[in-house]
């Protein structure tokens, strides 16, 4: 269906599905894009799942927009945007973690205000850098909304190395992170250093976001973080299964999204968010259907 839609906007799409797929892999830039997007999807699936579990969506969103001033600042100074991405996202993660309350409590009104201030100020700085650099308008939009063109071999390599690092540190936190996220008070009583765990998690999230935003753009990383993860958590409460589903959903979203936008004139970000949102709605709908059926079975059993 989606392929049909794409054909309406019409590039070289034929009716032969396999030749279309082969076309996708014909160019080197497209292979690089697919590799980079797959790495980003695995990372976003895992980091996003933890983020949704910890209910840190606002923090996650703030970290993701910080990628914009990072990249714009680095371009202005004249160094590789990679430094900007990683530097700014890590610094923002540390600032937010430093401002978090000592008891690991969530949802304090001032904490969310601080997150908001940080986010708006970071974006304002990004705008300043763009203005100071004077006119890279198209680049501004691709920093914000993403581009999958022109990803180099060395970029893919850096992405892979950082992904290993982030996944490794999340795996090392593993059980402690899960415990501290589900029940911070009990975890602290059991001697889990919840504050340190929170800080290490935010640092990993910052790195993950810095990486994913190079593909999706700073404004749309958040979609890839939150959509597959929340769909997965609707479908399974078990951590192993949930993580696996989250990764699979994220991969489907980026593969299908990139595939469609190769043939379509509309932006990648639009396709990726739309597919992700459709998946989330399907998960919510499917879940409530299953729940309702289970309830009605229970009721009819009780009646009989």
């Amino acid at each position: 269906m989606t392929l049909l839609l794409a054909s309406a906007s019409g590039t070289q799409l034929s009716w032969n599905f396999w030749s279309d797929i082969r076309q996708l892999f014909a160019y080197h830039f497209m292979i690089n894009a697919l590799e980079a997007a797959s790495i980003a999807a695995v990372l976003a699936g895992v980091a996003g799942w933890c983020m949704v579990l910890r209910r840190q969506t606002f923090v996650g969103h703030t970290l993701s927009v910080v990628a914009f001033p990072g990249a714009a600042g680095a371009t202005w100074v004249g160094i590789s945007p990679l430094w900007g991405y990683f530097g700014f996202c890590l610094a923002a993660a540390m600032t937010i973690a430093g401002g978090a309350r000592r008891d690991g409590g969530r949802g304090s009104s001032e904490e969310s205000a601080v997150t908001g201030i940080l986010q708006a100020f970071a974006l304002a700085c990004g705008f300043l850098f763009v203005v100071l650099y004077k006119g890279f308008l198209n680049e501004t939009q691709s920093l914000l909304f993403g581009t999958f063109l022109g990803i180099t071999d060395s970029q893919v390599l850096v992405l892979a190395v950082v992904a290993m690092l982030v996944l490794g540190s999340l795996a090392a936190l593993g059980r402690r992170l899960f415990f501290a996220s589900v029940d911070p008070v009990a975890a602290a009583a059991q001697g889990v250093p919840t504050r340190l765990v929170g800080l290490l998690f935010l640092a990993s999230l910052g790195l993950a976001v810095a990486e994913v935003s190079q593909i999706t753009g700073a404004l749309l990383v958040f979609a890839l973080l939150v959509m597959p993860a929340s769909a997965a958590q609707r479908l399974s409460a078990r951590p192993g299964m949930g993580l696996l589903l989250s990764i699979i959903f994220a991969l489907i979203v980026v593969w299908v999204g990139l595939g469609i936008s190769y043939f379509s004139t509309y932006p990648t970000g639009f396709w990726i968010t739309s597919i992700g949102f459709a998946g989330y709605l399907a998960a919510v709908g499917g879940r409530s259907l299953v729940d309702r059926r289970a309830r009605s079975v229970r009721h009819s059993g009780a009646a009989a």
């Binding site: 969506t57 969103h61 708006a120 705008f127 959509m227 949102f277």
Partner: protein, 281 residues
């Protein structure tokens, strides 16, 4: 004094000061309640929705502000109604606004390919207060004054409902309705602020002044006035800075002054922690 007169004799500057002050006061008042109610994330969502609304209106070829206000108010009321059932769910809000922003990217492409310019998209994102026309200024001031009046009318019950929702409901206040009205007002404020500092930065105007005010006083009414005052101060200070250092865009200066005042209040009151529960009446 003559310097001020000289400043205001520039039409672009006097328009920016008029519209900016009213917008800032409205945002300061609304933002105070946002921070008390811990709904800053809802404002974050609205700020991104504002972008899509404006771009959708442009792509459809109608006045940008029409789409801006309509989409913000509808989305604000929707968040309130979704949240009313079982506490505002950040994950649901996050999914919805991430997709809406993706739609914004689509409208941006549609509009840019039709009109051949991408400048408008960037100015929606980051604002252009020095570029206001005189009719835009009149409309912005009128809506801003209406917003201030509306928030003052519901201020007392809203404050009660924000500090202790259960007791307010028991006392017979329509807590749910208040929540919906409030987020609809936040939507209008988001539309207003988009014209001043842009959709991506309006969160700073809604969050920094009230966060500073909450740091400085326990008393809600003093805090409310203080928040409006600090917001106006950020706006005027920012405009002034950008007037003299023309390489600094006004949106950046306004946010920098606002963020700066929060940082100063942080240093000034290091050991005091305030939130809604500590308010004294």
């Amino acid at each position: 004094m003559s310097a001020v007169v000289g400043l205001l004799s520039q039409p672009f500057m006097s328009r920016a000061v008029e519209a900016g002050t009213v917008i800032a006061v409205a945002c300061g008042l609304i933002g105070y309640f946002l921070v008390l109610r811990a709904q800053v994330f809802a404002a974050d969502a609205l700020s991104h929705v504002a972008f899509t609304g404006a771009l959708a209106a442009l792509a459809a070829g109608i006045d940008l502000r029409l789409g801006l206000f309509a989409v913000c108010v509808v989305f604000g009321a929707m968040i309130a109604m979704l949240g009313a059932k079982r506490g505002a769910d950040d994950v649901v809000i996050g999914n919805a606004f991430a997709w809406v922003l993706g739609l914004g990217a689509l409208f941006l492409t549609l509009y840019a390919s039709r009109s051949g310019n991408g400048v408008t998209g960037v100015s929606v994102l980051f604002g252009s207060i020095f570029g206001l026309t005189s009719s835009q200024t009149v409309v912005a001031v009128a809506i801003g004054l209406g917003l201030v009046a509306a928030i003052l009318v519901i201020a007392r019950p809203l404050l009660f409902a924000s500090v202790d929702e259960a007791v307010a409901a028991a006392a017979g206040l329509p807590v749910r309705l208040l929540g919906v009205i409030f987020l609809a007002l936040v939507g209008i404020a988001a539309g207003e602020a988009t014209q001043a500092v842009g959709s991506l930065l309006l969160l700073g105007l809604l969050a920094a002044p009230p966060a500073t005010a909450v740091r400085l006083t326990h008393q809600p009414w003093v805090g409310l006035v203080l928040s409006a005052g600090i917001s106006a101060f950020s706006m005027l200070g920012g405009l002034l800075v950008s007037y003299y250092w023309t390489s600094l865009p006004p949106s950046f200066s306004i946010l920098a002054v606002g963020t700066g005042s929060y940082v100063v209040s942080l240093i000034g009151s290091r050991h005091r922690v305030h939130d809604g529960a500590h308010l004294r009446f």
